[in-house]
């Protein structure tokens, strides 16, 4: 049973708390934007032959947007959830009639909003700040963003449920995040990697977000990205099932 009044209050409270955490806001909202600004001013968007006639911004913008999803999902939410559990904050909720599902829904929605906000900030800045052309369809891109955000949040909740302490969550989160970011092609083009590394990179979930965003931004239809959609959908379904099974208040 979902408690709608509690859910609304939880969502509002979580968003307020989020915005009061300067570090969280920096990493999710400002770091990818800051990367984009640096790339934009230092390298610019002149067409280069190695990128098939596209500019560096054209090639990297979708990757920076994907970065937001990866950071929040793999580090942000798991660390925050483990921290709250370890501090006994989640236990406080157990003393009330609040359902775990309501709590999770509020937290997921709040983080979903922050992810979408971060992605939109990157795309808007790229499009209107640096004039990166958008050739795709807005509804398709929106669907791609929603699916990716949902998939990574379910993975986030699995990590947040099984990682016992804030310290472990921080170590594991960063341990997973950095290779994932590098391999996924979010900041380093996969074309320059050796073939074996490229094959390994296919197993990295963030790769599929990067490819989906890249394709949808450059004008592909959703039907051209069935693999990515299938993989991310799989993460979503399996993640929700595992999180529901393993989530603990304490």
């Amino acid at each position: 049973m979902l408690q709608t009044r509690s859910l609304r209050k939880l969502l509002a409270t979580q968003v307020k708390l989020y915005l009061r955490e300067p570090i969280a806001v920096f990493f999710t909202l400002f770091m990818p934007v800051a990367l984009l600004v640096m790339l934009g001013f230092i390298i610019g968007n002149e067409p280069v032959p190695e990128l098939g006639g596209r500019g560096h911004l054209d090639a990297n913008l979708p990757g920076y947007a994907a970065l937001v999803i990866g950071i929040v999902g793999i580090a942000g939410v798991p660390i925050e959830t483990a921290t709250r559990r370890e501090a006994g904050i989640l236990r406080r909720f157990r003393a009330t009639p609040l359902r775990p599902l309501t709590y999770i829904a509020g937290d997921v929605l709040a983080n979903f909003l922050m992810m979408v906000l971060g992605v939109v900030a990157v795309f808007l800045l790229g499009r209107f700040g640096f004039g990166v052309p958008f050739h795709g369809s807005l509804p398709s891109l929106a669907l791609g963003v929603f699916l990716s955000a949902a998939a990574f949040l379910s993975v986030a909740y699995v990590l947040g449920s099984v990682l016992p302490t804030a310290r472990v969550a921080t170590v594991v989160g960063n341990f997973l995040l950095f290779p994932m970011v590098v391999l996924s092609g979010a900041v380093v083009p996969q074309q320059i990697m050796p073939e074996t590394v490229q094959n390994v990179a296919k197993l990295v979930p963030l790769t599929h977000v990067v490819r989906l965003f890249g394709g949808l931004w450059s004008g592909h239809r959703l039907s051209e990205h069935l693999l990515e959609i299938f993989v991310l959908g799989g993460f979503l379904v399996v993640g929700v099932a595992l999180a529901a099974r393993f989530f603990r208040w304490e």
């Binding site: 408690q3 009044r5 509690s6 609304r8 209050k9 939880l10 409270t13 307020k16 708390l17 009061r20 955490e21 709250r84 501090a87 006994g88 904050i89 236990r91 406080r92 909720f93 157990r94 003393a95 009330t96 009639p97 609040l98 359902r99």
Partner: protein
């Protein structure tokens, strides 16, 4: 004992952690409207007992009924009707006092007006303060407010004054007395005998997972048949024989000008004073020391409770 008058009934409760039996076959009942105290040293098993009753830990054996419900099984309907303050409690550091009350009020079907509650616990001025900036006593008052936000009939408080300075502690005592006056039943744990004597209608003394005594503080102390001590200082000399002959006196000690009379009976003090006056002894700094729950614990376990 009338069944309907018990808000909590615990029968044969056992809880183990590995090989450690933290609660060892404990049975008792808590009556409507009383302040029930569970007293004992750290590690006695108080928190484990309370949390089994609240449904937050699963007993290994025994039955527990709270307001006619089964803790753990009827978790959500029970949570609607009880208030809980944990021994170790936490909130997000940056949440504001008003926000947290409003949030927790939204979890219940018929919550109190949280602003009024904030006023009751004396935190109206702190409504917009982040939780982390509050003092220990203020934080504890926030947790009390959270335990009361659903206007529960039964309130659990696990060591609510541990770690508080004397002034906050006194304020907390007044708050607990106030909760009782409003007709709620309070289940309180403490490792302070002074606190139990002051606040509780009945006290269960717990040691190593067992209840070693359960009664009103007065009865527990009276049951000791312990001695009263009357101490005073004299000017000049006196013959202590005149005190040894007073009915009820068992022993008289003299340390310089300080005299300590041991004895029993409610009239002991009056008799000692009139004996001194009739012999024209001038005395000062008269003090009586009556036995307390500390002495009850010592008598029952052979050990001192450490505060």
């Amino acid at each position: 004992m009338c069944e309907a008058k018990n808000v909590i009934e615990v029968d044969g409760l056992v809880k183990r952690y590995g090989t450690l039996t933290a609660v060892d076959n404990v049975s008792f009942a808590v009556r409507t409207g009383e302040v029930f105290g569970m007293v004992g040293p750290n590690g006695a098993g108080k928190t484990t007992t309370v949390e089994c009753i609240e449904g937050l830990r699963e007993p290994d054996q025994g039955t527990v009924r709270v307001l006619g419900m089964r803790p753990g099984v009827d978790h959500y309907s029970l949570a609607e009707q009880i208030g809980i303050q944990f021994q170790v409690d936490a909130l997000p550091p940056r949440i504001r006092v008003g926000e947290v009350l409003e949030l927790f009020a939204s979890f219940y079907s018929s919550p109190l007006d949280w602003r009024q509650l904030l006023d009751q616990v004396g935190l109206t001025a702190k409504e917009r303060s982040p939780f982390a900036t509050l003092s220990g006593g203020q934080k504890q008052r926030v947790f009390i407010a959270l335990a009361l936000v659903n206007d529960p009939d039964l309130v659990f408080m696990d060591e609510p004054t541990t770690g508080l300075d004397p002034q906050s502690r006194r304020a907390m005592w007044e708050m607990i007395e106030d909760i009782r006056t409003r007709g709620k039943t309070v289940f309180l744990t403490t490792h302070s005998m002074e606190e139990a004597e002051r606040l509780c209608d009945r006290v269960a003394i717990m040691d190593s997972g067992r209840i070693v005594a359960l009664d009103t503080p007065d009865n527990l102390i009276a049951g000791l048949k312990a001695e009263i001590r009357v101490a005073f200082s004299i000017e000049g000399q006196m013959d202590t024989e005149i005190l040894s002959d007073v009915p009820g006196v068992t022993r008289v000690e003299q340390h310089g000008d300080r005299i300590v009379v041991h004895g029993s009976g409610t009239k002991l003090l009056g008799r000692v004073v009139s004996a001194l006056e009739s012999s024209a002894v001038s005395f000062s700094q008269l003090r009586t020391e009556e036995p307390g729950l500390e002495d009850v614990f010592l008598a029952l376990t052979g050990r001192r409770m450490r505060d």
